[in-house]
């Protein structure tokens, strides 16, 4: 009698375990930026993250990541701060977005590689070796949120993603409220310059969306491309009130301010030319980037806001590290 009961319990126990095992290893299907359908068992245990590495501290993915891009280790201030505080977190590197070290990746036996769509031939090659690749290139905040949510599902961190989104929304809502007060005729023209001073962010992409969101006008916005190379004349024609320079560009605001060709642009006359910090717009920090830009454009509407305080709060809540701790690793 006891034997039979024991058998029953044993069988039940085995069944329950199996069920849990199956439930926990459900296949998840999603579509990436290329339109490719990817089916993978979640949670992912060994990922190689080439592009969304800031989500590693944000979603606490340290145990689920097998390798990162060299870029994270060399240029990402948050990542560097974490590694220096806790060297045990260091991960093998696999090269940069366009020059991935295929051998290194294969050696790590990853379940998934998360990279950007810049080099389709690299992705194709990886897939031909039987690896799964999740290619991203968010062109809007909505898309970025989707990417965040997919990350959540992939790593079993849905709840954490919701928390991150909540913090981001807090800042976005703050901005939204403040700029709603700005009358349409007082909206300022904002231009975002990229690798060359004559390359501007145009109508497609997160930058354009942010400029509009923070109450600015993006004059080249009618050009339906991600960026456009224009003549200086055209920039003069648009006469922006504020000019932002991409953080990794090879020139400084001084170059523009001292250049006689740019002299007559309003932004130059009012010395409102700023270089953005080295923060990617494909990270939760995009909210801070938006705030930074909003505060530079409409300082009078954000007079009472202490940027450092908000940044610090954001860092702690989202990344689990303070702004002060990260600042020494910021690249100038």
């Amino acid at each position: 009698m006891v034997c039979r009961a024991f058998h029953k319990i044993l069988t039940l126990w085995i069944l329950v375990n199996l069920w849990i095992g199956v439930a926990f290893a459900t296949p998840y299907t999603f579509i990436d930026k290329r339109g490719k359908r990817i089916v993978i068992n979640v949670p992912v245990k060994r990922a190689v993250i080439v592009i969304s590495y800031e989500l590693i501290p944000a979603l606490n993915l340290w145990d689920q990541v097998a390798g990162v891009s060299t870029w994270a280790e060399e240029h990402c201030d948050i990542y560097k701060a974490f590694i220096s505080l806790n060297p045990k977190l260091k991960k093998p590197t696999v090269g940069v977005g366009t020059n991935l070290n295929i051998e290194a990746i294969i050696k790590l036996k990853p379940d998934l590689i998360i990279t950007w769509t810049y080099a389709p031939q690299v992705i194709k090659y990886l897939e031909s070796k039987g690896l799964k690749v999740f290619a991203i290139y968010p062109d809007s905040l909505k898309e970025f949120y989707q990417v965040l949510k997919i990350h959540g599902k992939l790593f079993g961190k849905e709840k954490r993603v919701e928390e991150v989104i909540k913090e981001m929304d807090k800042i976005f809502n703050l901005i939204k409220k403040r700029v709603a007060k700005i009358p349409p005729e007082k909206r300022k023209k904002v231009i975002y310059l990229l690798g060359k001073p004559t390359t501007v962010s145009a109508g497609i992409g997160i930058t354009d969306e942010i400029i509009n969101f923070i109450g600015g006008i993006n004059p080249p916005g009618f050009i339906k491309q991600r960026y456009a190379d224009v003549s200086i004349e055209r920039i003069l024609l648009w006469n922006p009130d504020v000019i932002f320079i991409w953080g990794y560009a090879g020139y400084t605001p001084e170059w523009i301010l001292n250049n006689s060709q740019w002299e007559h642009i309003k932004a130059v006359k009012n010395k409102q030319v700023y270089k953005l910090p080295h923060w990617s717009t494909w990270s939760p920090r995009v909210a801070l980037v938006a705030l930074y830009m909003a505060m530079k454009i409409y300082p009078e509407y954000f007079k009472d806001i202490n940027f450092e305080k908000i940044a610090d709060n954001f860092y702690c809540k989202v990344f689990g590290i303070s702004y002060k701790q990260v600042k020494p690793y910021e690249e100038l």
Binding site: W71, V96, G97, T98, N99, Y118, L194, G195, K196, P197, T198, T199, A202, P220, F222, I223, Y227, A228, D229, V230, S231, I232, E233, R234, L236, L237, W246, Y248, G250, N259, S260, Q261, E263, H264
Partner: protein, 333 residues
């Protein structure tokens, strides 16, 4: 008739350049344009510093002049190469000059942003030509085919190096390199103009004085020697100096194709192959053509189209038409 054609070719860059000053995204009243230019030269009016003045004097004028200088440099070099290699279908690319210059620029923009782009472009363009020369010279003397072949090899080599740079460099800096490689005058200013002008002057002036010599050098090597010409030395002088002009041009505005190939050929079909006339008229025709292409590239749409695309799109069909019309003569046989 021939004189008329020559006069047309000589004055074409001036005419087109002048018109180009009136065209652009920022609409400036033509009368105002005149006033500004006269003021700059004669100081007649008392014009304040204004956006219009900056547009005409600081933006359009250097851009038009730069396009002219680059066009002249590229087609002048084309004339030299076509004459030396006795082949009307040879251009600065074949010798690997452009690829070498491109590599010099790419590596500077990508890894050594504090160094001079122009200097590196020049150094690597010369290196490419030297390599081409020495590879071909292992045969004993430099004759037409080995030199072209080695030029193609060297060009391919440097282009591969550029690809490596693109691969290794930060994907965001890549944008600047890639667009620059496509060739553009959007960042033309008085500073770059001075550099290009100096390079063109030093490079093309000696060639100008040697222009009749190109007639002699375009004979077979034995024939030229029997006419007292030190073929190796004179070819070297011509190549080095024309390379200087091309490298400087490339360093300032990237790779622009077709001009070095097409303009000398077109001018030759118009006024004949005598280099005494062909060289100077190719300079002016090249300048005119480039100014025209650049003006189109910056006024036709809301953003700058890479000028290399314009030269290819306009040049290629016209070139084909003239080839067909000219028949066998066009090929010089």
């Amino acid at each position: 008739m021939k004189n008329f054609k020559a006069i047309f070719l000589i004055f074409s860059p001036l005419v087109i350049g002048w018109i180009a000053l009136f065209l652009g995204a920022y609409k400036v009243n033509p009368l105002m344009v005149l006033k500004i230019i006269l003021n700059e030269v004669f100081h007649v009016f008392n014009l304040r510093d204004s956006a219009e003045k900056a547009i005409i004097i600081d933006i359009r004028l250097p851009r038009v002049l730069l396009a002219g200088i680059v066009g002249a440099s590229l087609s002048g070099s084309g004339v030299v190469l076509q004459g030396i290699f006795r082949n009307p279908l040879v251009d600065p690319f074949i010798l690997g000059i452009s690829a070498g210059a491109a590599f010099g620029c790419a590596i500077t923009v990508g890894f050594f942003p504090h160094w001079s782009i122009q200097l590196n472009a020049f150094i690597f363009a010369l290196l490419a030509v030297a390599l081409t020369y020495f590879i071909a010279r292992t045969q004993g003397e430099i004759s037409r085919l080995p030199l072209i072949l080695s030029g193609v090899i060297v060009s391919a080599f440097f282009q591969a190096l550029v690809s490596i740079v693109k691969f290794l460099v930060d994907p965001h800096k890549l944008q600047a390199i890639v667009f620059w490689l496509m060739g553009s005058f959007s960042l033309a200013d008085w500073q770059t103009l001075k550099i290009a002008g100096l390079g063109a002057l030093i490079g093309l002036l000696p060639v100008y004085f040697m222009r009749w010599r190109l007639n002699v050098l375009s004979l077979s090597e034995d024939e030229a020697k029997s006419l007292g010409v030190n073929v190796k030395r004179e070819r070297l002088i011509l190549i080095v100096f024309s390379t200087l002009a091309v490298a400087t041009a490339t360093s300032v505005c990237g790779i622009i194709g077709w001009i070095g190939l097409m303009v000398p050929h077109l001018v030759r079909m118009t006024i004949g192959p005598d280099h005494k006339v062909l060289f100077p008229l190719s300079l002016t025709a090249g300048a005119a053509f480039m100014i025209l292409a650049d003006t189109i590239s910056r006024t036709i749409t809301n953003f700058d189209i890479p000028v290399g695309i314009i030269t290819a799109l306009t040049g290629a069909p016209f070139f084909l038409y003239l080839l067909k019309k000219g028949g066998k003569e066009a090929w010089g046989k």
